[in-house]
């Protein structure tokens, strides 16, 4: 049997089925004996797609969608940004990065500002582009800002493997990758966070497999559904999750089986563990969560910009300026869904995409950016 894209587009776009799913969602919403049901969208793309598809406007008011820390740029600590800026300022370095990182504010600057001032900072679609840049600039050190969850980690792993195979000695990564399942458990156990169910990431799950979340669900008692990104996937996912909440089911369901398997992509998992090993990681606003970071194994440590260029990263003096939290940014609480963006006093008034105070407003996956763009600073849509 072969996959047919035209048939897929037609069948997935089923607004009649969507209508029935919405009825079911309203039914469960009424039956669940709570004043409000909190569902956490772990992944930033889900936050955006739920807005973008128009599903947000159709859900019952009792269902509260809370956004989680599933935006890797948003959870990268201030100190990393400042470190990247220090590397960029140094003429010996070419920085390669995904586009999202460019405008994240550090203590007193951003990569974009440094680029405008002459630093060699290049946006890449794939980390592999760093290899050609390194080959073409043998007198410079090319540092890729390795930010992202498990979907993106293999790309960094392959970068290292290729650099080794091609004997390129001027390619590095500045490690900041993070992993999701332990983070979900940490959120589920956090005293200030009250989540009834998790909408689990779609493409991270392709890599790690739906089973990767079972331990967290069993330990926390909070169910989760792996969910795709089309409007029908979102409705299937939310309906399934509400059914589990109603039935007090503590498991994990995979509502995206055309792409996500139980075990995940074993080839990808193998290459990740070949190059990286787990370590503790700092999540902006949340603090250190054990075993949620990835660092290069001993064998590949020579590719670590964090180690080799530690002195450049730290900088000649303590970076002047204020951390975004000192400026009043409440991204930390937003990433834990303790508050939603409109509850932050800076939201829209002071902090907006043109003048972002924190990363949640800058990143295209960021929840503040989503609320700003689609919520137009608090406006309701008359349907």
């Amino acid at each position: 049997m072969s996959f047919n894209l035209e048939q897929y587009s037609k069948k997935i776009n089923n607004s009649a089925a969507a209508g029935k799913l919405l009825e079911s969602i309203f039914k469960y919403s009424d039956m669940i004996d709570k004043p409000g049901v909190n569902l956490m969208e772990v992944c930033g793309t889900h936050t955006h797609e739920i807005f973008k598809s128009g599903v947000k406007a159709l859900l019952p008011k009792k269902i509260k969608l809370r956004s989680g820390p599933g935006c890797p740029v948003c959870v990268t600590p201030d100190s990393y940004i400042d470190g990247a800026i220090n590397l960029a300022k140094d003429k010996n370095f070419i920085i390669t990065t995904f586009g999202d990182m460019l405008k994240v504010p550090g203590a007193s600057s951003s990569l974009k500002a440094e680029q405008s001032a002459g630093a060699d900072v290049r946006v890449v679609y794939s980390p592999e582009e760093s290899l050609e840049i390194a080959a073409a600039n043998p007198d410079k050190n090319v540092v890729f800002l390795s930010v992202g969850f498990e979907t993106t980690v293999p790309a960094s792993a392959f970068l290292i493997k290729s650099a080794e195979a091609r004997n390129l000695n001027n390619v590095y990564i500045y490690e900041a990758n993070k992993t999701v399942p332990e983070a979900i458990l940490a959120i589920a156990k956090h005293p200030a966070v009250k989540i009834d169910g998790f909408i689990l990431p779609g493409h991270v799950s392709v890599i790690i497999g739906a089973d990767a979340y079972r331990a967290a669900a069993a330990e926390s008692g909070i169910p989760g559904v792996v969910c795709g990104f089309e409007y029908i996937d979102i409705l299937l996912g939310i309906n399934s999750l509400l059914e589990m909440i109603y039935n007090k089911d503590r498991g994990i369901r995979n509502e995206y089986p055309r792409v996500v398997g139980a075990a995940g992509n074993l080839t990808a998992q193998r290459v990740i563990s070949e190059i990286f090993e787990p370590c503790d990681a700092e999540w902006r606003g949340i603090g250190v969560i054990a075993a949620t970071g990835l660092k290069l194994r001993e064998k590949y440590r020579r590719f670590s910009a964090g180690e080799k260029f530690a002195s450049v990263i730290t900088g000649p003096e303590k970076t002047k300026g204020r951390s975004c939290a000192e400026n009043g940014c409440r991204c930390g609480e937003i990433l834990l869904s303790i508050i939603e963006p409109p509850e932050c006093p800076l939201f829209a008034a002071v902090c907006n995409p043109v003048n972002p105070i924190g990363p949640c407003m800058v990143s295209s996956e960021g929840v503040c950016a989503a609320y700003y763009k689609y919520g137009a600073a608090g406006a309701e849509i008359e349907l």
């Binding site: 049997m1 072969s2 996959f3 047919n4 894209l5 048939q7 897929y8 069948k11 997935i12 089923n14 009649a16 089925a17 029935k20 799913l21 079911s24 992944c43 930033g44 793309t45 797609e49 599933g70 995904f98 679609y125 794939s126 980390p127 592999e128 582009e129 969850f149 979907t151 993106t152 293999p154 790309a155 392959f158 990431p201 779609g202 493409h203 991270v204 392709v206 890599i207 990104f229 029908i232 299937l236 309906n239 399934s240 059914e243 369901r253 995979n254 509502e255 089986p257 055309r258 792409v259 996500v260 992509n265 080839t267 990808a268 290459v271 996956e365």
Partner: protein
């Protein structure tokens, strides 16, 4: 977590790469994570890498389920 658009494989290349069709044009991407990919398979693309092959069987099950939902049958999870 990026949006993955299904793209069809048009050619398998050496060294763990393949050509996929984006609109009317071909692009070379890395298939090291899906070494079993064949011409005609649809892949999910992320940052220049294919992360999985879309399962035609599972897609078919999903279509059937959606049709049943549309026809008023009791809604069950795809998960079953």
């Amino acid at each position: 977590m990026c949006l993955g658009i299904p793209v069809p494989v048009t050619k398998i290349l050496e060294g763990g790469f393949a050509e996929v069709k984006i609109g009317d044009t071909e692009k070379k991407i890395n298939i090291a994570m899906v070494p079993d990919a064949r011409v005609g398979d649809y892949l999910v693309l992320h940052a220049g890498f294919a992360i999985t092959i879309i399962s035609a069987e599972e897609a078919e099950k999903t279509y059937q389920m959606l049709e049943e939902i549309e026809n008023g049958k009791e809604i069950k999870s795809i998960f079953g």
